[in-house]
């Protein structure tokens, strides 16, 4: 099996689906000649032409709104938002329109649309190139939200998203693009859009997380193992819907739960995981469900000392695990 970076795996997923299905198209800012600001769509325009890999105007509501229209008329658009931060002008099209079209038409219409967007920080991107805004969308019925944390899942979730009959928000951690490399099968395969993944088995603490924090979590679990504490790392992967069974199962088995994420905690994915654990595993808990995430500040600052302060690193995560282990 070829070794691909996370970025290459995303690109391979798009390319394979575009070869398979002529209704799949890519639409977004700079996706054409430039191949996207991160290179995700590199080479696609020369293979599939200017229409199927179409540079949009600089207007995100346009990107998503036009993609919705195309989806209603037989296409399967992959809309690229250049940075997840810039998805906000498209929130009305996503939440009022894409998410509700099937429901409001009593099932007559549906909207097969993928919105890809790079999120996350630690890349010296400052307030507006580092955000993790997925929580806002994870509340919204009618949407699916996925975040791959390995090259394998990056391709498999992308293919599944393209084939899904409904809108899927596919968020890619920009720090993963070139830093993660792994085995990616040739050809088409899908990863289900509603299943978590045990990234590392363990027994004493179940650590639920997603995105680049999975990588941090695995390192922290290594540290803890050396100290004699067995940590299970669950990559949530699908943030809406969350995999209730995997969450309940991990919590029940381990009895102690830590939820970790990059952005601030209030009304977030971590909140929901904690609430699910409370509902599903109360009798099994040996300690309070703990959460760790970014501080409650409006964004990740640019200056390195500030950015470092914002991010949950291996040490902070390990410290929290130790606190839980000691409980």
């Amino acid at each position: 099996m070829p070794l691909l970076t996370y970025l290459e795996a995303i690109r391979a997923g798009m390319r394979d689906e575009m070869r398979r299905d002529p209704s799949v198209m890519v639409f977004g800012e700079d996706v054409g000649a430039k191949g996207g600001v991160f290179g995700a769509t590199e080479g696609l325009q020369s293979e599939f032409g200017e229409w199927r890999v179409l540079d949009s105007p600089l207007a995100e509501s346009c990107i998503v709104g036009v993609a919705i229209g195309a989806a209603l008329n037989g296409m399967r658009p992959i809309a690229e938002i250049q940075f997840q931060d810039y998805i906000l002008p498209a929130v009305n099209q996503i939440v009022s329109e894409a998410a509700k079209i099937r429901y409001r038409s009593n099932g007559e219409w549906h909207c097969p649309l993928v919105v890809r967007a790079p999120f996350g920080g630690g890349v010296h991107g400052g307030l507006y190139h580092s955000q993790s805004l997925e929580a806002m969308f994870c509340h919204v019925p009618g949407l699916k939200v996925v975040v791959p944390s390995t090259p394998h899942d990056a391709k498999g979730l992308l293919v599944a998203a393209v084939r899904d009959p409904d809108p899927v928000l596919y968020f890619e951690h920009k720090r993963a693009y070139r830093s993660l490399r792994g085995e990616v099968p040739d050809g088409a395969y899908t990863v289900p859009l509603d299943r978590a993944r045990v990234a590392r088995a363990g027994e004493e603490i179940a650590l639920f997380t997603y995105g680049m924090m999975v990588d941090t979590a695995l390192r922290a679990a290594d540290l803890l193992e050396a100290e004699g504490v067995s940590v299970e790392v669950v990559d949530l992967r699908s943030l809406r819907p969350l995999d209730r069974e995997a969450i309940a199962g991990g919590a029940r088995r381990c009895g102690k739960v830590l939820v970790a994420q990059e952005p601030n905690l209030a009304v977030s994915v971590a909140s929901e995981v904690s609430a699910i654990v409370a509902e599903e595993a109360f009798e099994y808990l040996d300690a309070p469900v703990m959460r760790v995430g970014g501080p409650e500040v409006p964004g990740m600052p640019f200056a390195k000392p500030l950015e470092d302060f914002y991010l949950v690193d291996v040490e902070r995560l390990a410290a929290k695990l130790r606190e839980l282990a000691r409980y």
């Binding site: 709104g65 919705i68 229209g69 038409s105 007559e108």
Partner: protein, 338 residues
């Protein structure tokens, strides 16, 4: 009095049969619209939002479209347009009464949220102006597949203040997509008059900034509407790109059944609008042209009213949605079964 069709065509640019068809569609829509108000006032339909005063341009536009081939992204005033395309009065009434069999939304949306997959009428929500981008996307797909379908998108003048209006016109114009943007300018956005909505009287002026034609037409003149809409649709079909057509129409009712326009418009202004009612004026005109005698018009009314009556009875008798069906159709497949 029978007049030769060629004389009518010479006088109006349109043949007599088409004129009668236009009148008939306008009247049908008006009668159904009036019925909706009655049902609302009777407490049977909790909400209505009317197309009265917008009929002429809607009928004129719709007659240039091929139902199920061309596309429509409508807004809530497009009762006439959707009737012409083939949504039946019974279906409209099922929606107004929020019945289970409402084919547009299954009673899930407020009335006048038109939708028909069969007729290529795109499902609409309530947030204004979003449909303009959908129309551009629909047209993009038609264009990519080399089809000759035309997409019409409708919007009130107030909603053209939304950013989506600009983004849609810009995108459609860049790629010369087969879209016609129909602005139904009735001078008000709920209570906000056009002077507070935009700096110039004509939305169509904006077209020049996008290098496309912008056409203002008297929305009380069905003949002119028919001609101008035909040109715009033909232009789009020929691959020459989008047009903005702005019809100056009347809002003969309050914004909706929840509004009372006497709070913000003078009695005189309201009376003056009523005097210009496009349906009445067109009736007189057709009588004068000898195309439709008053007695023929009356017979038409009786026949159409019977259709509305029958549809009302059927809709009233239709069942409401079952409560637990509220859980259906969130996402496809698996979830649908659940």
């Amino acid at each position: 009095m029978v007049v030769a069709n060629k004389d009518v065509r010479a006088a109006t640019g349109v043949d007599a049969g088409t004129l009668r068809t236009i009148y008939r569609h306008m009247l049908r829509s008006r009668l159904l619209d009036e019925r909706m108000w009655i049902l609302n006032r009777q407490g049977l339909a909790p909400f209505w939002i009317s197309g009265m005063g917008h009929e002429a341009v809607q009928v004129a536009m719709a007659l240039h479209l091929r139902p199920g081939v061309d596309w429509l992204a409508p807004y809530y005033r497009d009762l006439s347009m959707t009737l012409v395309l083939g949504i039946t009065p019974r279906e409209q009434l099922l929606a107004a009464l929020a019945r289970a069999d409402d084919p547009a939304t299954g009673g899930r949306q407020m009335p006048a949220h038109f939708s028909s997959r069969r007729l290529n009428i795109v499902s609409t929500g309530s947030a204004v102006a979003t449909q303009l981008l959908h129309a551009a996307g629909v047209a993009l797909a038609s264009r990519m597949r080399g089809e000759d379908a035309v997409t019409v998108a409708c919007v009130g003048e107030g909603a053209t203040s939304e950013g989506d209006f600009h983004e849609a016109v810009n995108f459609a114009a860049i790629h010369r997509l087969p879209v016609v943007f129909l602005v139904e300018n009735n001078g008000y956005a709920i209570s906000v008059p056009i002077e507070k909505q935009m700096p110039t009287p004509d939305v169509a002026d904006r077209a020049r900034g996008y290098g496309i034609p912008g056409v203002v037409v008297d929305g009380c003149d069905p003949v002119l509407c028919y001609l101008r809409c035909g040109e715009a649709v033909a232009r789009a079909r020929r691959g020459r790109g989008p047009t903005i057509i702005e019809a100056k129409v009347l809002r003969l009712t309050s914004h909706s059944s929840d509004d009372d326009q006497r709070r913000y418009r003078t009695t005189e202004a309201l009376e003056a609008e009523r005097q210009r009612d496009c349906l009445i004026a067109f009736g007189h005109r057709l009588a004068g042209l000898g195309v439709l005698t008053p007695s023929a018009a009356e017979a038409m009314r009786v026949e159409l009213l019977a259709e509305v009556d029958q549809a009302t009875r059927e809709a009233e008798a239709a069942p409401e949605p079952r409560p637990e069906t509220a859980l259906l159709h969130v996402v496809g497949e698996g979830a649908e079964a659940g």
